[in-house]
């Protein structure tokens, strides 16, 4: 019996949050939601999600800042991070990789694709760890 997989989704848009929460919960993933970039590291430490999905453009503290904080700390840098953002130019995607993203998805995203990626990430944690 495998323990239930969990995900932390951070996005300031309530519509996107609702959509991702609905789809992932139907896949049997427990979804935690946060509406801005503040306190995400603490949530990761206390909730131990299997993956973090981050929006980039958020008021106050953007996704890059959160991503860098997560990757800088021993206690959180093993958790794979997906950037899910409307920043879709080559330069912006490159900036995302530079910031330390494990995966990069652009908005508007295909729900099937998102679920497929997450399934891959969540079912092959060992591969990810060695790759990371």
């Amino acid at each position: 019996m495998t323990p239930q997989l969990s995900c932390l989704f951070v996005d300031d848009d309530p519509g996107v949050r609702e959509l991702v929460a609905l789809n992932l919960s139907h896949e049997g993933v427990k979804v935690h939601l946060a509406e801005n970039g503040f306190g995400v590291e603490d949530m990761v430490r206390s909730l131990h999600p299997d993956v973090v999905i981050l929006d980039v453009m958020m008021p106050g503290r953007d996704g890059y800042q959160v991503l860098q904080a997560l990757k800088a700390s021993e206690s959180t840098n093993k958790v794979p991070v997906v950037l899910l953002t409307a920043k879709a130019t080559d330069a912006e995607i490159w900036q995302g990789w530079q910031a330390g993203a494990d995966y990069y998805l652009t908005k508007p995203f295909n729900v099937d694709q998102l679920v497929h990626y997450l399934r891959l990430i969540l079912t092959q944690p060992e591969t990810e760890l060695t790759a990371g």
């Binding site: 519509g15 609905l22 139907h26 508007p108």
Partner: protein, 668 residues
């Protein structure tokens, strides 16, 4: 300090004058014993005129790039030795010098300096000759004393001049003197031998002296021609150097200062002004003095323009206008040159100088200045073109950058609602019967709501694009303020209508505007007030003065800090982003409002409401109601709805989200 330098020159001159006077007094006591007695009046005038005449025939000698102006006064002095005593020699020399001082209107100090030098030179030379020759009269025995006397005359001429030059140029005295000695020696020997020749000829009768005339004339003409050629050569060389120096790129005002500076040194003037006419026809100028460069008063420029007249491509010498006494106190000549007709820029160069240094028209300096004015015009126009190109490039780059930013922001803004809209539809498809009826309902409403937001954004972006290109069609009619306010209230969504209070509207207030666009602006303002001041009344206040009608939208919400009040009219500025996104704003509303307002000739401003909150005011020019005709009155009835293509009726654009956002109300 140039002021102190001038003062030093003045004191040096005064000291030399005092020394000369002392010398004259002392020597006149000594030469009383060898008194010749006064010459005949005729002889006195002949010698005085001879001094004046040779003084008016300046010649030049160049010695290792130094140019010394000299005259053949030495010859007259030598002749004078045999016909006048030292005292009368000094007096005739001084009298001869008086003429140029008066004619050239030399400043008093300079005149006294010249006169005293002549007197001292004359008496010293005469005394030396008398002492050495001991009254032996003409013949070879007198040649040496005559030359020795002439040398005294020369020495007494150059010593004071060297002192003045050294002080003025801040050089060492010996250096200046050593520069003058070779030329003075040459001219003294030349002058003395000529004088002796004439004197010896005169011994055999006055007519024999005529034989010496061709020699004097020949020397003078040859020297004049050579001087002219040297001047020409020098002039071209200096023009070439000045041209090369000014060819470097300067800023617009810099170039005027540089041209003025170069012109001043080209013509050895004391000050110079360079004026240029800009594209609007306005003249501006810069002044150059030995102390540095500065601006000009408009009266200066006007005066220079008057002096230049319409004499294109030529230089002329005019009297210095009284206005410039302060700028160039010693100048007695103003040389003005205007760039030739057809120059790429219109430019005038004016140089203030002292004509005692030789009038410009004679020495070809006028041509130099007009050539330089033509060159200055070309350089100035190049500088002007370059700065124009740079400016336009910078503004294009800036506009391009702003456009890029706009496109980037728009694309990001469009992606978010599109993401949710597509995501909701895809979720419905893939989960199909696994979603509960409640979830299905929520997803559908989300999709509609986001589609609506997308539509608003696209409408706004198209409106912005049209406004930026100036493609917004406007239909200006006379609008009665009271009627306009009624329409406004009628078009408000129900929830807002309950909060909006319409103040007393002056019955006769009317203005000319595009009714629909103005409606759009005010509806947007009211909508904003409803969103950002969620509580309290919203007031629409219409007031009028003699020439203006203003429509104010007043809320009592949190307000906007003064520092942000202009920023709210920028594109995609949402001061508090967390609340706006949930409010469904596009971040373009106020930007569009202001664009529209300026298109309509109205002003849109934001002030703080007394006691907190925002007051947006649209101000329009008022028209008199009495001038309204029947047709215009008919147009002021509430108009039926019409759509005009892409840019639809503004109130419709505002109303639509309200009806969609509250679907429960429309579904029984």
């Amino acid at each position: 300090m140039p002021g102190s330098r001038e003062r030093r020159v003045r004191w040096t001159a005064l000291a030399i004058i005092a020394a000369n006077v002392a010398l004259v007094v002392a020597l006149s006591l000594f030469v009383r014993s060898v008194h010749h007695g006064p010459p005949s009046l005729m002889r006195f005038f002949v010698f005085a005129s001879a001094f004046a005449l040779v003084g008016a025939m300046p010649m030049r000698l160049d010695f290792s790039e130094h140019h010394v102006s000299f005259t053949l006064t030495d010859a007259v002095v030598v002749i004078g030795f045999f016909y006048l005593g030292p005292l009368w020699l000094a007096l005739t020399a001084t009298a001869g010098e008086l003429a140029p001082c008066v004619m050239k209107r030399l400043p008093p100090l300079k005149s006294v300096f010249n006169l005293s030098s002549r007197a001292a030179g004359g008496i010293t030379a005469g005394a030396t000759f008398v002492a050495l020759n001991a009254g032996r009269g003409l013949g070879p025995a007198s040649w040496f004393p005559a030359i020795a006397g002439a040398i005294c005359w020369g020495v007494l001429n150059i010593l004071p001049v060297a002192a003045i030059l050294a002080t003025a140029e801040e050089r060492r005295y010996e250096q200046t003197l050593s520069r003058l000695i070779p030329t003075t020696a040459a001219t003294t020997l030349l002058g003395a031998s000529l004088g002796l020749l004439v004197a010896e000829l005169l011994r055999d009768g006055a007519l024999y002296a005529i034989l010496a005339l061709p020699v004097v004339l020949g020397v003078w003409l040859t020297n004049r021609d050579a001087t002219h050629q040297r001047d020409e050569h020098l002039r071209v060389g200096r023009l070439y150097e000045a041209t090369a120096r000014t060819a470097a790129i300067h800023s617009h005002l810099d170039i005027l200062a540089v041209v003025a500076n170069e012109a001043r040194s080209l013509l050895t003037g004391t000050a110079a002004i360079c004026c240029i006419r800009d594209e609007t026809g306005r003249w501006t100028g810069r002044t150059s003095r030995s102390t540095g460069t500065g601006g000009t008063r408009s009266s200066d420029v006007e005066s220079i323009l008057n002096c230049a007249g319409h004499d294109y491509g030529n230089a002329k010498s005019v009297a210095v206008p009284e206005l410039f006494r302060g700028l160039a106190p010693d100048a007695d000549e103003l040389v003005v040159a205007r760039s030739p007709q057809g120059s790429p820029a219109e430019l005038i160069v004016a140089v203030f100088r002292s004509s005692a240094d030789g009038r410009v028209t004679a020495s070809g300096l006028g041509e130099t200045l007009s050539a330089f004015a033509a060159h200055g015009a070309v350089i100035a126009s190049n500088v002007r073109l370059l700065s124009k190109v740079e400016q336009s490039l910078a503004s294009q780059l800036e506009a391009n950058k702003r456009k890029d930013e706009f496109v980037a922001t728009v694309s990001h803004e469009l992606r978010t609602p599109l993401t949710v809209l597509l995501g909701a539809a895809q979720t419905l498809l893939r989960l199909d019967d696994r979603v509960s009826p409640g979830e299905r309902d929520r997803l559908l409403h989300t999709a509609v709501k986001q589609g609506q937001r997308l539509q608003l954004l696209i409408e706004d972006v198209l409106l912005v694009a049209a406004a930026e290109h100036g493609n917004l069609a406007t239909e200006m009619t006379t609008v009665i303020a009271a009627r306009f306010a009624e329409d406004l209230l009628a078009d408000l969504p129900d929830d807002l209508r309950l909060r909006v209070h319409l103040g007393n509207t002056p019955v006769d207030a009317a203005f000319v505007s595009d009714r629909h666009r103005l409606h759009q602006i005010v509806m947007n303002l009211v909508g904003n007030a409803g969103k950002y001041a969620p509580e309290g009344p919203i007031e629409i206040v219409i007031s009028s003065s003699d020439d203006e009608v203003s429509i104010g939208v007043v809320d009592h919400g949190p307000g906007i800090p003064a520092s942000d009040r202009e920023r709210v009219f920028d594109r995609f500025i949402q001061l508090d982003q967390t609340s706006t996104r949930s409010q469904g704003g596009t971040g373009l509303g106020l930007f569009i409002c202001r664009k529209l307002a300026s298109q309509l000739g109205a002003a849109l401003e934001l002030r703080a409401t007394d006691g907190g909150g925002c007051t947006f005011t649209v101000t329009l020019p008022r028209v008199s109601l009495r001038r309204l005709n029947d047709q215009e009155l008919a147009e002021n009835r509430p108009s039926p709805t019409s759509t005009d293509g892409l840019l639809r009726r503004p109130n419709e654009l505002m109303r639509r989200p309200a009806s969609v956002l509250a679907p429960a109300a429309s579904q029984p």
